[in-house]
């Protein structure tokens, strides 16, 4: 079954392929995904949000090992999912790959990597985006 029209995914390509966030021109805070306005500076930040590319460097804040996977992810279980603190400030939820699932730890240094995320059924689009791998 194909669930979604393509534009829903196409419009998120900059964020998901290249980690494009944005920065408030007033307080310099960085957001990912990009915010329409800065929640701290609010109206002062309107029209002052600038896109920035994030380094993809960060560390694991917390994680889980997913054993019962959702639709479109069944073949991947068991897989780790983590919240990662990026060096620029924002936190992000993503899979950890390229390591033994037992080696995932809080505080582990990681780097983003471009991967296939899921497929929309047999005939739908293939979705790509970021996962994170350990920094050796």
């Amino acid at each position: 079954m194909v669930d979604s029209a393509v534009p829903r995914f196409w419009r998120e390509i900059p964020q998901r392929y290249n980690l494009i966030g944005n920065q408030c021109g007033v307080c310099d805070r960085i957001y990912f995904p990009p915010m329409e306005s800065c929640p701290v500076c609010r109206r002062k930040s309107m029209d002052k949000m600038k896109n920035v590319k994030l380094s993809g460097k960060g560390e694991v804040v917390t994680y889980t090992i997913t054993h019962v996977a959702p639709e479109h992810f069944e073949g991947q279980a068991p897989y780790p999912i983590a919240i990662i603190q990026l060096d620029e400030g924002p936190r992000i939820t993503a899979q950890i790959v390229d390591c033994d699932i037992n080696d995932v730890k809080i505080g582990m240094k990681v780097q983003s990597t471009f991967r296939k995320i899921q497929e929309d059924g047999w005939v739908g689009a293939i979705y790509y985006g970021y996962k994170f791998k350990p920094v050796k």
């Binding site: 998120e12 995904p33 804040v61 917390t62 994680y63 889980t64 090992i65 997913t66 054993h67 019962v68 996977a69 959702p70 639709e71 992810f73 991947q76 897989y79 999912i81 983590a82 919240i83 936190r91 992000i92 939820t93 993503a94 899979q95 809080i106 995320i117 899921q118 979705y127 985006g129 970021y130 996962k131």
Partner: protein, 388 residues
């Protein structure tokens, strides 16, 4: 604002109720509540109903009108409102009904909560529950709903030394309470070993750390407090109502181990009720996963941050403990038909404050609290109730 009281309640059995439809469940709960309150249909000014996702669970939206219709109110043409706040839909329906009576707009309202989750296959029920999380920035990347709470648990274990045994004891306690509740989905006790050895859903949460997929409905009747004694000898007053929101995604929160929505909603409700956490005699908290009850007792101020696990160990929250939590069995054992849950929590506290909770009665309970969470903590609704 004027005072508001609960004057009646109706509860269906919770569980996999294959012979009951969405319509039958909510009509049954509503009828029982109306009979319990001893009101006539004509006295009802409005209807509020909590439902998280009838659109996905039974392919039916327009739930406000549907519920009025199937409960027999089509001829009175009462305003009927469906309320949605994910797993906190029921609690929010209570709050919306409460606000309209408190404002003087209505004198008597029916507040229902209902979910029919077993008309879809299990995987679709799980997908639907995941819509309470951030679809674009959590679920898209493979995070599941249990996975989000599992990540809270992992961090809580890391920061405070909470163990899987602590988590397991929440399930053990709530199953023991559920065994005393004739409407509970699971009326049997389990052991710590059962929880630890059960199939892993998302480490560190096994399937017995998770609340089930359930069908069920509950309804309560709210009435202006000055008119309540006309209908019942045992009205229960809502003395505090708090609601708060937070980031939809878990990763947006500064402290993974604190649900700020709970902290803020609790502050509002305690202030309105003019009480402290220590004044609460009995509480129904949102234990969609075992870790959620540990967070709840911390964020509600029953114990200090980080001591939730140890508090469970010390049996502070058991039926005969200092502050009994989830006497109904909680979401874990009573069942979690999501839209019904927040209303069912209020119904359990009303039973406790009326002294009608049978084998699970907390002796001398005067003040009770309900705590209903939406998503991984993006919504929280808290009510404090007192026997009049």
């Amino acid at each position: 604002m004027r005072d508001v009281a609960v004057i009646g309640l109706g509860i269906t059995k919770f569980g996999e109720l294959w012979d009951k439809s969405f319509r039958q469940l909510i009509a049954e709960a509503g009828s029982k509540a109306i009979l319990d309150a001893g009101i006539s249909g004509k006295e009802i000014d409005a209807l509020y109903v909590g439902s998280m996702s009838a659109g996905r669970f039974i392919g039916q939206e327009h739930v406000g009108a549907l519920v009025a219709d199937c409960a027999g109110f089509s001829h009175t043409h009462i305003p009927a409102v469906r309320v949605e706040s994910a797993c906190a839909s029921g609690g929010l329906a209570i709050r919306q009904g409460f606000l309209t009576v408190a404002s003087g707009m209505n004198d008597i309202v029916v507040v229902g909560g209902v979910e029919k989750m077993t008309d879809v296959v299990g995987s679709e029920a799980t997908n639907t529950l995941a819509t309470a999380a951030d679809q674009e920035w959590e679920a898209f990347f493979g995070a599941t709903f249990p996975g989000l709470y599992a990540m809270i648990a992992t961090r809580h274990m890391y920061e405070y030394g909470t163990t899987r045994e602590h988590l397991a004891q929440v399930a053990v306690k709530n199953h023991a309470n559920g065994a005393l509740n004739p409407n509970a989905q699971f009326q049997r006790e389990i052991s710590i070993e059962n929880v630890l050895n059960a199939i892993m859903v998302s480490y560190p949460l096994s399937i017995l750390d998770c609340s089930p997929v359930s069908d069920g409905a509950t309804a309560v009747i709210l009435c202006a407090a000055d008119k309540a004694k006309k209908y019942t000898d045992k009205p229960v007053k809502i003395i505090g109502s708090g609601q708060a929101s937070d980031t939809l995604a878990l990763h947006g929160r500064k402290d993974i181990c604190t649900l700020e929505a709970t902290v803020h909603a609790a502050k509002t409700a305690y202030k309105q009720a003019n009480i402290q956490p220590k004044d609460i005699d009995v509480a129904e908290v949102h234990d969609c996963f075992t870790i959620a009850e540990i967070l709840a007792i911390e964020d509600l101020g029953f114990v200090k941050k980080g001591e939730g696990g140890k508090a469970i160990d010390k049996k502070i929250t058991t039926l005969d403990g200092e502050i009994p939590v989830n006497t109904s069995g909680g979401l874990k054992a009573k069942g979690h038909p999501v839209g019904a849950t927040g209303v069912a929590q209020v119904a359990e506290i009303v039973l406790q404050l009326r002294g009608e909770a049978d084998k699970r009665q907390v002796d001398g309970a005067k003040i009770g609290l309900t705590h209903n969470i939406g998503g991984s903590g993006a919504s929280c609704i808290i009510h404090i109730l007192e026997a009049m």
